[in-house]
């Protein structure tokens, strides 16, 4: 039994530093966590911006007119390794996300200018807004101030403080890591000397909830910081809303305005500087105090205020790019910022743009969304039919539409020698299987009750009749039961792994000498048999299965599959559903051979499509494989095992949803490691002894279909 403690299972595929975490490795867990916390679809993008800048992503979304509800975009660093343990780094990620989600849950974007504060007296009503009620609440609010940049800076700090308080209050489980995260983003006191007093005041607001800030006793800031702290203390209430933050920010704004503009912090705890930094109001749209891209903010404010395009229109990616080219206040704009600032979702972007594209992780090297529609560049070869299927990306929890091209083709014909020889060499097993299968119809009987005539009396019914008779009732006479046959109505598709790995030799198999009577000369009758491969056993199993299943009359199809990239998923028909057993099919079995990779997802989806078209009441899908799914770029790179497993898992779930019962049989002794994830509630079996496959496969079918 496991228990909720801090020892989380460290996923494989983390960054080189042992305890560091690559966000992609924990993203699936975190996505569901985010959805639970907010009740909305959340897209997590990884950015290379500073942590402080990523933290203020909520404000960027508000200023850019991004709709606060519906789709939520949060940003995290692609990797994190500041702490010495995996748990600590995980805790940091969780806290960082919880903070950003806190802005959603506690309504940072729900500001209503006309709504009163519950914790403060409403000062907004006494201040004169520049414009009427048609403007946004935030625009009307910031119009109250002479120095809007100062007001914005203070409001964001105050609102962050409110969210920090509420998160720690309602989620005490993250408090420890949350506090560490907060402390990690605070400005070092050593950085203060040289700053203007007002700027230092604003910087220190971020950490004002910590006593250490006041204890530092910085020059002339002690008094204004104490006053601001008293305002924050009033704000710190479980019922605090964004309107309370707005009122608190007005009060802190007036405290800040009283601080002389042209005085500088000379020394803090022994740190001193002659260097003079500009006051933020003198700055010209460049980085603001490390926490804020003032250029972005200023521009956004202008755009929203009506000095630019109509404020109700969010900026488009093109607008931003143009402005970036003109170097108006924004530098180093990247596509990801367009994503967060324009409200575009990844699905709206053209192929070639992906949320991971500027991540620091290994995934950035792979452009999964290559330009060009795959359909236009894919040509069917002779005898092939092309089918397109979606692929499930578990990291973004979305399907990639028509991502894989399945090439369906009838397998070529060889000789029927293999088929005949297998039945001959395995004749005792073939006979046994056939005998077992012949039993099946008898096992599919059910007991029909309440009959006028039948095999035997039903004792309960007879007693009931007697009682009725004694009570003066007319007996119905329906006191018999009889066995009735249920019409077998089974359709099954066997999906055979024909990946390159099935060419592996079976360990236990050693070269053997076998006696061959057909050879003319006695001394040559003992011939060396070739060592057998996994695929040879698969072929033998199929022969025995066909032989046995024919006795039942079930509708069955046998297909081989392999992958060579998403545009070449081969789906080879050995025997199609509704096709009768002919000599041709026996000859096709001979041609079953290892090909390339194991792209299971699209092959399963195609088999499901075929089964779904059958009208049978019981539909089964058997997947026979020799290892985990793996194919060229089956995921974010060739080794993205998790991606491939999750896509396969989703394909199996899709089958279940269509009332098809999937079952996975693997001869990979390490199969338990990944099948537990891949199959979840779906049946699977790991065959320890591969030599058992020819016996086990038909028996499993008998069990499932019976």
């Amino acid at each position: 039994m496991s228990e909720i403690v801090s020892n989380r299972e460290q996923p494989k595929g983390t960054v080189d530093t042992y305890f560091g975490i690559e966000f992609a490795s924990i993203e699936p867990v975190m996505l569901v966590y985010c959805m639970a916390m907010t009740g909305k679809e959340v897209e997590i993008s990884t950015g290379k911006d500073s942590v402080i800048s990523l933290r203020n992503n909520w404000w960027r979304q508000i200023t850019s007119g991004n709709p606060p509800d519906g789709h939520i975009n949060v940003s995290v660093p692609a990797t994190f390794m500041d702490y010495a343990s995996y748990d600590d780094n995980f805790g940091w990620y969780k806290s960082f996300l919880t903070q950003q989600l806190g802005h959603v849950e506690f309504g940072s974007s729900d500001f209503d200018f006309d709504k009163d504060s519950s914790l403060f007296e409403n000062l907004r009503s006494g201040m004169r807004p520049e414009n009427g009620c048609t403007e946004s609440s935030y625009y009307r609010y910031f119009s109250l101030f002479d120095d809007r940049l100062l007001a914005t800076r203070i409001f964001v700090a105050i609102e962050n403080a409110r969210i920090n308080y509420l998160v720690k209050f309602f989620y005490p489980g993250v408090k420890y890591y949350y506090q560490r995260m907060q402390e990690g983003t605070l400005l070092a006191l050593a950085q203060l000397p040289g700053m203007t007093l007002r700027r230092a005041f604003c910087e220190l607001l971020d950490g004002l909830e910590f006593d250490a800030v006041l204890a530092a006793n910085i020059d002339a800031l002690y008094e204004p910081l104490s006053e601001a702290r008293a305002v924050l203390d009033r704000l710190f209430s479980p019922s605090a809303a964004v309107e309370d933050s707005a009122e608190a920010a007005i009060r802190v704004y007036y405290i800040a305005k009283k601080i002389p503009k042209n005085l500088f912090v000379s020394s803090v705890e022994g740190y001193a500087s002659e260097h003079r930094e500009p006051d933020f109001s003198e700055m010209d749209g460049q980085e603001f105090m490390g926490n804020f891209n003032v250029g972005q903010m200023k521009l956004d404010m202008e755009m929203r205020a009506g000095t630019g395009p109509k404020s109700t229109m969010p900026m488009t990616a093109e607008d931003l790019k143009k402005l970036a080219d003109q170097k108006i206040g924004i530098t180093d704009i990247q596509d990801a910022q367009f994503l967060s600032s324009t409200g575009l979702s990844a699905a709206d972007l053209p192929r070639g743009v992906h949320v991971y594209q500027f991540s620091q992780s290994k995934f950035q090297q792979v452009d999964r969304y290559q330009p060009g529609d795959p359909k236009s560049s894919i040509m069917a070869e002779e005898g092939e039919k092309l089918f397109y299927y979606d692929e499930w990306d578990f990291r973004t929890r979305r399907y990639i539409g028509e991502w894989c091209c399945v090439r369906e083709k009838v397998l070529g014909e060889g000789s029927s020698y293999f088929y005949e020889k297998t039945l001959e060499s395995r004749k005792s097993l073939a006979a046994e299987l056939k005998r077992q299968f012949e039993k099946l119809p008898a096992e599919l009987l059910y007991k029909a009750k309440n009959l006028d005539d039948g095999d035997e009396f039903d004792l309960d019914l007879v007693i009931g009749e007697l009682m009725d008779k004694k009570a003066g009732q007319t007996p119905s006479g329906k006191v018999y039961w009889k066995k009735k046959k249920i019409q077998r109505d089974v359709a099954v598709a066997f999906l055979l792994d024909m990946s390159g790995s099935t060419a592996d030799l079976i360990n236990k198999s050693r070269p053997t000498m076998e006696y061959d009577e057909s050879i003319k000369y006695d001394f040559m009758k003992f011939v060396m048999q070739p060592r057998r491969r996994i695929i040879d056993l698969e072929k033998e199993s199929i022969v025995l299965l066909i032989h046995a299943i024919e006795t039942l009359g079930d509708n069955y199809g046998i297909y081989g599959f392999s992958g060579h990239g998403r545009s070449k998923v081969q789906f080879l028909i050995i025997k199609d559903l509704n096709e009768s057993l002919t000599e041709k099919i026996k000859r096709r079995v001979d041609m079953i051979a290892p090909i390339h990779g194991t792209r299971m997802g699209p092959a399963i989806r195609h088999a499901v499509t075929k089964l779904d078209a059958c009208g049978s009441s019981l539909k089964l899908l058997f997947l026979v494989s020799d290892g985990y799914p793996q194919d060229s770029l089956y995921g974010y790179d060739d080794d993205d095992k998790e991606y491939a497993i999750h896509d396969t898992k989703m394909a199996l779930i899709e089958a279940s949803k269509k009332n098809i019962t999937p079952f996975c049989l693997t001869v990979d002794s390490a199969g338990n490691d990944y099948l537990r994830t891949m199959c979840n509630d779906i049946g699977y079996e790991v065959l320890d002894d591969i030599e058992m496959l020819p016996h086990r496969l038909p028996m499993l079918y008998k069990k499932l279909s019976g």
Binding site: V32, M37, Y171
Partner: protein, 293 residues
Amino acid sequence: MPLKSKRHDYKSHIIEEYYITEEPFYLPLIDEIKLFEAAYAERIPVLLKGPTGCGKTRFLEYMTYRMSRKLHEKASSSPNHDGIPLITIACHEDLTASDLVGKYLLEGDTTRWVDGPLTRAVKSGGICYLDEVVEARKDTIVLIHPLADHRRSLYIEKKGEMLEASDSFMLVISYNPGYQSILKNLKHSTRQRFIAIEFTHPPKEIESKIIAHEAGVDDNLAGRLARLGEKIRNLKEQDLSEVISTRLLIYAARLIKEGIPARRACEVAAVWSITDDQEVQKSLKEVVTAIFE
């Protein structure tokens, strides 16, 4: 009359003499109390719909108690009236018409007719509650049709009798539309004999009060559990086929009250109980560990 055993601490009731004598704890969600009272006044059958563990049965117990009290107040001249009995029948696929209506039993050389629970409810004027009614076979459900329209009568085929329901009799059925397959849906001819009151999980504030009362825990703990419930329910349709019930949250609260650490209690009551998907379990554990220290 309840019979108290001397050897064991249990109570046994004859089904038509099972009265709700103490007021059950129930917090109204919207106007369901008014609706039920109006339906009872007009003797309109009621269908209670809602997810498992959201309070359908508790609501009915509460309403039975309330209706009994009203009856008492009205019939003050006859103080011996015990109220309205609540007769609950758990439906299942082997439930036959005889199981509901009654059957003949052998008694020596003769037979004796024994009323089924439905007949007893009709005669005694109780509230008959068919729980999870879609589980019953369709031919069995048809039996209730004449009881659920203007006729208010039960046809007892074996006795050749037509039984008119007592004045205070009322039929209530329930089902959870969430996990029933299409095959097990109610027939329209049945559905259209009932008004339907739909229940959802209570909002966080109300659920918190319910947890605090039912488990006897403080408001802070109850509030946190209600918050957990809200978060888990956010995953409805996405990663969970059935979300957590108020009942499970109460169980978690009780375990905590008995000294089980909060995170552990939530794991066994609120995570493992609702999903076997290990990935979803991991995410839910992160929610639990965020809410509880």
